[in-house]
């Protein structure tokens, strides 16, 4: 049981540089400022007296303290931990977690800061972290999740903000930690420029990673290649048009033979001049040997018309070209 007493503390006596117990990652304090202005401070921050006996360290309530400072307030009513009976640092840290959990959910970056502190600062073993804290943090109980969150904390702040804002997933954040800073920054900018959603991010990082490892060139060099840069810098194109163009450039680099097949198939399809209501599809990945035709019709007349079109191409040399596709590298 931890004992508290309440007291009015001068804000200048709070040592903001001591972040031992802090894990808050919420860059914006506007909302809390408004709230304090309107209804005052409801929950007092929790502080502990520093061993020097003069200053205080925040256990919980950093944003409240910052908001009060912003409002030029001088004093704050705080709950002070009575250190007459010594409380271990890890218990204070856990107290901060529990106190915050009472009022809000933690974001991904905060979870990663907590896990990193438990690991590095408090020296907990992997299993102790998983067993003692993962339920509290609402995380899946496994080693992979632990590794992901341990690494995220190493990322640059702009990337952490993107994770916090849910622009990139924790898993992608983890992936980014494996890249060198140049590649990481380059890919991060690429995500922002193309406004890549999470699935697209996964697709693009895989393409880039594969090309980079296969050809042993840096990812940043692939992204900054003229072929891609010239598209990114075009002001007449929206993101919706740039994205498929760049995707195709990367796919061509990663899968030159497959994309060549796709492009040749597309040429054949155009030569067949089928109306939009007749769709022809190749075997998936050109793996099987069966092409599919799909007819879309509303009535007998439309059906008959489509059959007539199909009949007209049945003997065409162009259809034969489909058969040759699989043969030529």
């Amino acid at each position: 049981m931890i004992n508290f007493y309440e007291d009015d503390i001068k804000l200048t006596d709070i040592d903001l540089k001591d972040e031992t117990y802090l894990f808050s990652f919420e860059p914006r304090i506007t909302e809390i400022i408004h709230s304090i202005q309107e209804i005052g401070l409801i929950n007092p921050p929790i502080l502990v007296k520093k061993p020097d006996g003069f200053n205080y360290i925040i256990i919980s309530g950093l944003k409240r303290v910052l908001a009060l400072m912003h409002l030029k307030t001088q004093w704050v009513r705080a709950r002070i931990i009575d250190q007459q009976r010594f409380v271990p640092a890890l218990s204070l840290f856990r107290l901060g977690i529990l106190e915050n959990l009472g009022t809000r959910q933690f974001n991904v970056v905060e979870k990663s800061i907590i896990i990193r502190k438990l690991h590095d600062q408090f020296g907990l073993k992997d299993q102790e972290i998983i067993e003692g804290y993962f339920d509290l943090l609402n995380l899946g109980n496994n080693q992979r999740v632990l590794q992901t969150y341990l690494q995220i904390n190493k990322l640059e702040d702009n990337i952490k903000i993107a994770i916090h804002d849910d622009l990139i997933s924790p898993e992608m954040g983890y992936h980014l930690t494996k890249l060198d800073p140049d590649d990481r920054n380059s890919f991060f900018q690429f995500i922002l420029q193309l406004k890549l959603g999470k699935n697209r991010q996964k697709e693009f990082i895989k393409l880039l990673d594969d090309i980079s490892k296969r050809d042993q060139i840096k990812m940043a060099r692939i992204i900054e290649d003229d072929s891609i840069r010239s598209i990114l810098s075009r002001e007449d194109l929206g993101v919706g048009l740039k994205l498929p163009m760049i995707r195709q450039i990367l796919r061509r680099k990663r899968y030159p033979i497959l994309t060549n097949l796709e492009e040749r198939f597309s040429t054949i399809r155009k030569k067949l001049r089928l109306p939009p209501k007749i769709q022809i599809r190749p075997p998936e990945n050109f793996e099987g040997d069966t092409y599919h035709i799909e007819l879309n019709f509303k009535n007998q007349q439309e059906f008959a018309e489509q059959v007539r079109v199909l009949n007209s191409i049945a003997d065409s040399q162009t259809l034969n070209e489909l058969d040759e596709l699989a043969d030529a590298l």
């Binding site: 899968y255 033979i257 990945n285 040997d289 699989a326």
Partner: protein, 355 residues
């Protein structure tokens, strides 16, 4: 790295395996190695250098897990040993088996009994059986001695044959014994470059071919498996050189079959390969999901590789029997100009070769 025979640093024995002669023989071979008796497999140290001796409690005999979507040679397998220390980068066992250690099933008499019942129970059926599915057939033979027992067991069987598939040179145990022509000894071959990068703990190409020649001289028929073929910038010249090298060692008339198979693996193996073998580039090839959901080279690549291999091999001897391992009929036709059409026809063709 020169090929090194496997020596465990710890042996575990399950309580039901203690009294078997094979257990005693293995313990005496490794008399300097510590061993521990355990009640079950849960208390075993999960390490690559551990050897587990236990009893096969399921059937030894199984059908090869081929897929209906591709043509399969209808091979059957014996699970006598699980896992392999050679550690090829592409090895499917990395994802297939849960344990890193090698398991030897010591109740080999039960195996012979199971096989006798099987062979006698269906005399009209022909059994083509191998032990190289969940292990290399010979890499542990220096301490199990199983190859000799198997070869002698099969030597008088009229409706069954054995294929021992290996990358090793461990053939001494089977050279001077009665085999009755019922055993084929096969080698998996690759180019020296791929052996060095993807099979670096296995014997070199020449060492394998020399071992094959010694088996040929002992009257065995030889199988060759170019599997997995890897597509890389100089593949053409280098695989062609391998073929030339083969026929410097072997007589075409002694080669019973040659299989061609291109790199393929279940999708989950990609991450495992990248993590365990960061220097390997095989996963960066143009692999796509096939109709069996395994990753395979784009079909045109496979056709190109198989077509050329087929031509080069047939040029050496038009009578060589060459088949594709787990391929679509369309790939056979485009590569070889013919196809067995289905798995049963291929199985029958291969059974006839040996009978």
């Amino acid at each position: 790295m020169p090929y090194k025979l496997f020596t465990p640093d710890h042996i575990y024995i399950t309580s039901d395996a203690i009294d078997y002669p094979v257990t005693k023989q293995i313990l005496s071979t490794f008399h300097n190695v510590k061993y521990t008796c355990v009640d079950d497999e849960n208390s075993i140290d999960r390490s690559y250098t551990v050897l587990l001796l236990t009893k096969q409690r399921a059937d030894f005999y199984k059908n090869c897990p081929g897929t209906k979507k591709y043509i399969c040679c209808g091979y059957q397998i014996l699970n006598l040993i699980n896992n392999c220390e050679i550690g090829c980068t592409y090895c499917i066992l990395q994802g297939y088996l849960d344990e890193p250690y090698i398991t030897v099933f010591v109740n080999i008499d039960d195996l012979f009994q199971e096989l006798s019942v099987l062979f006698n129970g269906d005399k009209n059926r022909y059994f083509r059986i191998g032990t190289g599915e969940l292990a290399d057939s010979l890499s542990t033979d220096h301490f199990t001695g199983y190859a000799r027992m198997l070869v002698e067991f099969f030597s008088d069987k009229r409706n069954a044959m054995l294929e021992l598939k290996t990358k090793t040179t461990q053939i001494d145990n089977i050279l001077n014994i009665r085999h009755g022509g019922r055993t084929v000894v096969s080698w998996s071959l690759n180019t020296p470059r791929m052996i060095a990068s993807e099979e670096s703990n296995a014997p070199t190409l020449d060492e394998r071919l020399l071992a094959a020649k010694r088996c040929q001289d002992a009257g065995y028929r030889i199988g060759l498996h170019f599997d997995p073929m890897i597509y890389y910038p100089n593949w053409e010249a280098e695989y062609k050189e391998v073929i030339d090298r083969v026929f410097e060692f072997l007589e075409p008339g002694h080669i019973i079959w040659i299989s061609l198979g291109a790199l393929r693996y279940p999708p989950y193996l990609e991450d495992i390969i990248r993590e365990r073998h960061p220097n390997s580039k095989i996963t960066y090839g143009e692999l796509v999901t096939g109709i069996d959901n395994k990753m395979r080279y784009v079909k045109t690549i496979r056709i190109e590789m198989f077509r050329k291999m087929y031509q080069w091999l047939k040029k050496k001897d038009p009578n060589l029997f060459i088949y594709c391992c787990m391929e679509h009929s369309d790939v056979w036709k485009r590569s070889f100009g013919w196809t067995p059409g289905n798995s049963l026809t291929l199985k029958n063709m291969m059974d006839e070769l040996i009978q």
